[in-house]
């Protein structure tokens, strides 16, 4: 075959090949766009549009029906100066006490599970059970348990601690204590499973050699396991903090109804009560929603910032 023809055939083949692959790539790109389109549409309508709407309406006196005038920062001034907002924020911060408690107890449980005693897989499964039970059920049990004539007070009276059998849910201090107790009990298992997963990344020989060198339980836990699972514990802490601000509605609803007054409500709980109020102050409620959004964004960015810092050090 003459050289010329050969060249011609090969360029022709090349040309065909490149056209084929362009078509192929186009087809794949089209598949890609069509694949994500439904999700994008759902997110636009159910996520981004409502977020935008919430921000916009927070500057109006919207009531969902007739009123919808621009009022500037009036809702925010109202929230900061003339509403239970600071009580709500205080309550959220009190509930945050549960975060170090659940991490400490979760860590203890994880360390115990790590020893792999007989039946540890069964125990690991049981430890997570509170997360599977609805907050409606758990909350109702705590409300019953701490009721004026409830089981806890009955026990206290029977063992002669009459003075302690108080109306637990009747004032903000003890009611918040009950909530902290409940949130901690609910979250220990989650923290334990998370920390245990982090611990499996530590080489077992490190912990073994530490015990051979005579490190006791506490030394092993706090000088070896905690530093080596720092990233996992940090993840657990951030998730728990965000959850305390956004995920406690059903617990508060079924234990205290946010009461007495707003004494045990959080920001998300007040959004709910404003929604059901006859006066329908939706502008005010969306203002609260925007503040909640800002708190969550700050927490998320703080988490990303710290994570970057840690990976810089490593």
């Amino acid at each position: 075959m003459p050289f010329q023809t050969l060249l011609c055939v090969s360029t022709r083949l090349d040309f065909m090949n490149s056209q084929w692959s362009t078509n192929f790539r186009r087809k794949k790109a089209l598949q890609g766009i069509l694949s994500v389109l439904p999700v994008l549409v759902v997110m636009l309508f159910i996520r981004f549009y409502p977020i935008g709407e919430a921000i916009y309406r927070s500057f109006t006196n919207w009531d969902g029906l007739y009123k919808n005038d621009w009022v500037g920062f009036q809702n925010y001034v109202e929230i900061f100066t003339n509403s239970p907002f600071w009580t709500l924020l205080r309550n959220s911060f009190v509930l945050l006490i549960s975060v170090p408690l659940q991490i400490f107890l979760g860590l203890m449980v994880a360390v115990l599970l790590y020893e792999e005693v007989a039946g540890w897989k069964f125990f690991r499964a049981i430890v997570y059970v509170p997360q599977i039970i609805s907050a409606v059920i758990i909350g109702y049990l705590f409300r019953i348990a701490f009721g004026l004539d409830g089981p806890i007070n009955q026990v206290l009276r029977n063992i002669g601690l009459e003075f302690l059998s108080i109306e637990w849910l009747g004032n903000s201090g003890t009611a918040l204590f009950v909530l902290v107790f409940c949130l901690t009990w609910f979250s220990i298992g989650w923290q334990a499973v998370v920390i245990l997963a982090g611990m499996t990344k530590i080489s077992p020989s490190i912990i073994e050699s530490a015990s051979l060198d005579g490190a006791n339980f506490w030394q092993r836990t706090f000088l070896i396991i905690v530093p080596m699972t720092a990233r996992t514990i940090e993840y657990g802490a951030i998730m728990a903090i965000v959850w305390t601000f956004t995920g406690t509605f059903a617990f508060i609803y079924s234990i205290t109804y946010g009461g007495p007054g707003y004494e045990t409500s959080t920001i998300d709980y007040m959004i709910y009560t404003k929604f059901y109020q006859a006066s329908a102050e939706f502008g005010f409620a969306t203002g609260l929603a925007v503040i909640l959004l800002i708190i969550i964004l700050v927490l998320t960015f703080a988490e990303m910032y710290f994570t970057n810092k840690v990976s810089e050090w490593e």
Binding site: R25, K28, L30, Q31, G32, I33, S35, V36, P38, V39, V42, M43, I46, R47, F48, Y49, I51, E53, A54, L112, E115, V117, G119, F123, I126, Y128, V129, P130, I132, I133, S134, A135, V136, I137, I138, Y140, L141, D149, G150, W185, V193, V194, A197, G198, G236, T246, F249, A250, Y253, S254, D268, I271, Y272, F275, F282, T286, A289, L292, L293, I296
Partner: protein, 278 residues
């Protein structure tokens, strides 16, 4: 000497874990035992075993015949199943594209979807309610299903995209050479190889949607479309109610999620752990 000490430690650990396990199981046991008592028996001593001669099955009978708890189960089940079906269908398709296909704006779209993950539903619920009431969707299952999709899609896509990225490109290319089209690749490569993530989503979101209160409470006000948790929440909010009757309802409502967990707990424990150490 050291040997025996080690043995004692292990026994102590076993005892500590047993105590913890009892504290986690006891509440359910408490609910069950007291649901089999009548009101006076419960008020006399909430910790005693029920009287086995005459168990108060009446609580359960009333729950089923008057409170119609199984109809409420149906409502919850429809919402959970439809949510999971759409979540997985939309999620798998999109995650495949994010993990394996190249197209313009991919990273931007991915970032947009994932960035909304931490936005709590309380922020958006009032605009969503108003939107759905304009579309006449309030009091329909679709209102709750769509809201759940908005809440959970980003999380599910994050998880599944990470898993699908681990599937080797060569397998997909080989399938393509054999003439496999888009849906063949999903069916014969992506879904079988991404199964752990898909099963985790299936179970996890069943439990979450079954137990949820906030979203259905706002969007379903009609007595006939309420989910079981919404109905129970309103039942227990009446202080005057009979606690043993309420216990019967709570115990029944806890069973489906616990059954699912009992069967699939391995996947959940593994999934939660992997999500945290990724």
């Amino acid at each position: 000497m050291n040997r025996t000490r080690q043995k004692t430690t292990r026994v102590l650990i076993f005892i500590a874990l047993s105590i913890l396990a009892i504290s986690n199981i006891y509440p359910l046991l408490f609910v069950f035992m007291n649901s089999l008592k009548d009101r006076t028996e419960y008020l006399k001593n909430p910790f005693s075993l029920p009287n086995f001669e005459q168990l108060a099955w009446g609580n359960y009978e009333t729950m089923i015949s008057q409170f119609q708890i199984f109809k409420l189960f149906g409502n919850s089940l429809i919402i959970s199943v439809v949510t999971i079906f759409l979540l997985l269908t939309l999620g798998i398709v999109a995650s495949y594209a994010f993990a394996k296909l190249k197209f313009i704006g991919k990273n931007l779209i991915y970032f947009l979807i994932i960035s909304s993950m931490f936005v709590p539903v309380q922020v958006t619920i009032i605009p969503i309610y108003m939107l759905f009431s304009r579309l006449h969707l309030v009091d329909t299952y679709w209102a709750v299903v769509l809201t759940y999709l908005g809440m959970f899609l980003s999380e599910a896509i994050l998880l599944m995209t990470a898993t699908f990225r681990g599937i080797p490109d060569e397998i997909i290319e080989a399938a393509e050479l054999d003439g496999a089209g888009y849906f063949d690749i999903l069916r014969y490569v992506i879904i079988p190889m991404g199964r752990p993530a898909i099963i985790l989503c299936l179970i996890y979101y069943f439990i979450v949607t079954w137990n949820d209160l906030f979203t259905p409470m706002i969007l379903l006000t009609n007595m006939n479309s309420r989910t079981v948790m919404v109905a129970l929440a309103s039942l227990i909010s009446r202080y005057s109610g009979d606690p043993t009757f309420q216990f019967a309802g709570l115990f029944l409502a806890a069973i489906p999620a616990i059954l699912v967990y009992a069967v699939f707990q391995k996947y959940i424990i593994k999934g939660i752990g992997e999500g945290s150490t990724r």
